[in-house]
């Protein structure tokens, strides 16, 4: 099994860019997963947390968290929105490893992500903190 990137990546490592454009089908799936009578009407826009979730899925893949058989806990999340995002709007996400320390056999890693539209304008940011254990072969959350 290849060594997962989380084990070797240095602070400053760049991830992506990932295309996190959200199609109407995925927006509909989101509505099925999350929606209810209380849900807001997003109109032509999407629930912007979708781009963060899409980028996170890409990060999990690139870091080798599941394929590497590593137990991963999604410990914390920060997000800021700068404007609404439309369904089908081209959005690219680029991440940077901003922390990666090892304590008692666990990696504590933080990846900051910047989301830009087709003009290169920043439209959202996020920061994901994960705890990765090398001792148990499970991935979670």
């Amino acid at each position: 099994m290849a060594v997962p990137l989380i084990s070797t990546a240095m602070v400053g490592h760049v991830f992506g860019p990932y295309d996190v454009t959200i199609s109407a089908d995925r927006a509909n799936a989101y509505a099925s997963a999350v929606g209810g009578d209380e849900s807001p009407d997003y109109g032509e826009s999407l629930a912007p947390i979708m781009v963060v979730a899409a980028a996170l899925a890409e990060l999990i893949e690139e870091l080798g968290l599941f394929s590497g058989g590593l137990q991963t806990v999604h410990a914390g999340q920060e997000i800021s929105w700068l404007r609404p995002i439309k369904i089908g709007e081209k959005v690219d996400a680029r991440g940077k490893l901003t922390a990666n320390s090892i304590r008692r056999g666990n990696h504590f890693a933080t990846v900051s992500v910047c989301y830009k539209d087709s003009t290169g304008t920043e439209i959202a940011t996020s920061s994901t903190t994960i705890i990765v254990s090398e001792e148990v072969s499970v991935a979670q959350q």
Binding site: A29, S32, A33, G36, Q77, S80, W81, Q141
Partner: protein, 139 residues
């Protein structure tokens, strides 16, 4: 719920809601997010993990919290809103969770009124699945 953000005051509670997290919702969230980790989807695999069964995506619980914020602040949440949360406990399919929130302060930030709220999503036993705070422009 106040009719407009100008009526917001410190101590206002946000209109939380309850949602049963079914496996169908988890399956749909996997499609929406692209996160197909089998711990969320494959019971045979999940039964071998420390949880003994499938768990919902942590981001699904957070998505419910953001639905509450989007409904409460429809004109400003997606235009300057911020959140910072911790994931405290997994949610298992079949559990019913409840979102909550409360305005703890309203401050002038560079000429724009911004509300700070405690936010979260509780499990049936009252423990937090996710908890933290959000800031939302009021104008």
């Amino acid at each position: 719920m106040p009719n407009s953000n100008s009526q917001r005051t410190v101590g206002d509670t946000l209109a939380g809601f309850v949602r049963k997290i079914t496996q169908d919702r988890v399956d749909a969230y996997a499609i929406a997010s692209g996160d197909h980790n089998p711990i969320h989807l494959d019971e045979a695999y999940a039964s071998t993990t420390q949880f003994g069964t499938r768990i919902a995506h942590g981001m699904l619980s957070l998505a419910l919290v953001t639905e509450m914020l989007a409904a409460e602040f429809p004109f400003t949440w997606h235009d300057g809103g911020k959140l910072k949360v911790r994931f405290s406990a997994p949610v298992f399919p079949g559990e019913t969770v409840e979102t909550y929130g409360k305005i703890t302060s309203i401050d002038d930030e560079n000429g724009r009124l911004v509300a700070t709220c405690t936010i979260g999503c509780k499990k049936p036993d009252g423990t937090d699945a996710v908890a933290g705070r959000a800031t939302v422009p009021l104008e």
